[in-house]
Symmetry: C2
Subunit: 242 residues, 2 copies
Amino acid sequence: MVSKSQIKLITSLQQKKYRDKTGLFVAEGPKVIAELQTAGLKLYAHFSTEFTNTASEKEVRISEAELQKISFLKSPNTSLAIFEIPKQKEIQTNGLQIALDAVRDPGNLGTIIRLCDWFGVTQLICSPDTADCFNPKVIQATMGSIVRIQIVYCSLSEYIKNSPLPVYGACMEGTNVYSAKYPEEALIVMGNEANGISKEIMGLLHEKITIPQFGVRQDTESLNVATATAILLSEFRRFTER
Amino acid sequence: MVSKSQIKLITSLQQKKYRDKTGLFVAEGPKVIAELQTAGLKLYAHFSTEFTNTASEKEVRISEAELQKISFLKSPNTSLAIFEIPKQKEIQTNGLQIALDAVRDPGNLGTIIRLCDWFGVTQLICSPDTADCFNPKVIQATMGSIVRIQIVYCSLSEYIKNSPLPVYGACMEGTNVYSAKYPEEALIVMGNEANGISKEIMGLLHEKITIPQFGVRQDTESLNVATATAILLSEFRRFTER
């Protein structure tokens, strides 16, 4: 059974304010939960309609009606867990890294985290106004990828100034992405969905890159930030020895 | 004012069955509606909270409460329009084309349509069990791109057998996408979100292509179909003269 205080806690964790306050976040579905456990994340509570013998105090068997009540999903899975937000590891200064300048949509952030996992990006830097990676929508969209990527929220301008990596940015007016060979280690900045990279960060880029448009349309509607990230990561990796 | 029968019609257009029956679909927001009008799509009815002088019989001024009632969106915009589904144009046999084998998610289809527009893909072939391109979620996600792409629903196997184009497919086990130079004119097949390309279509491919994985993870979770499409289109276009 789920107690009233547990329901209150779970519901509150939809909001960043309460995730920050409690140091907890919610994940749903056996697959995502198993991946987070395997990665060593600390389980705080685990609710499932499928437990038969609950081996641990943290495991609570609940009814489908109860799951419906606590789930954030339209079609709830069989289980929901609360995890502790892991402690920040030491910041890496090498490798291929992505920096997000105010990417607001949780779906885009989730897709970008999955892309980072696929392309071996080990650190994702997010400006403080980027969507929160422990947002339930992000957790569900990343399918467990989130445990393999170090995600750091900090001032992008400070980070760039202190980074030894060459800094590239995706812009509407830069050099053609297909015209250069890119280094294995770099920081690639992706901008906000509506406004692109902010003026301050634009001034800190070493090189601006553009994905050329081949279609017939004349407007300035840009590529979606997640698909643009896919293309840039592919271009940076195409010369990498595997 | 919106009449009861208009509300009934609009609500029914959420379902493919009624879109097919009436030959109508719904678009929301001034920007998307304007793009569809500019492209020459035939307007059936137009509801807006902002009309002052309604010049045409088709334009109906409504209250915000009425818009809330008819809108499919969580946060309704200022207007909603009903358009006639355009007639199928003649099938193109040349150019760069994408074929979707049972891509079910409307969000993925919408993203792929935007990508086709960006990369100058003029024809998108969809298997009958692919999401419907006049689904309201697809219409909103494409941001008007849908008017510039010829979308054909038909048997993929028949289409491939009759197409003069070389046929490539995105698979888990194919040649490395970075190892070849691709032709300007081709048909690229993308598979279902969970199962990839079906066995029947797999047997019709001329070449299987794989986007290599660079991350450390060992599981078989593949790239999302929309981001994989972005990367393949980028690879096919990188050698194209603009």
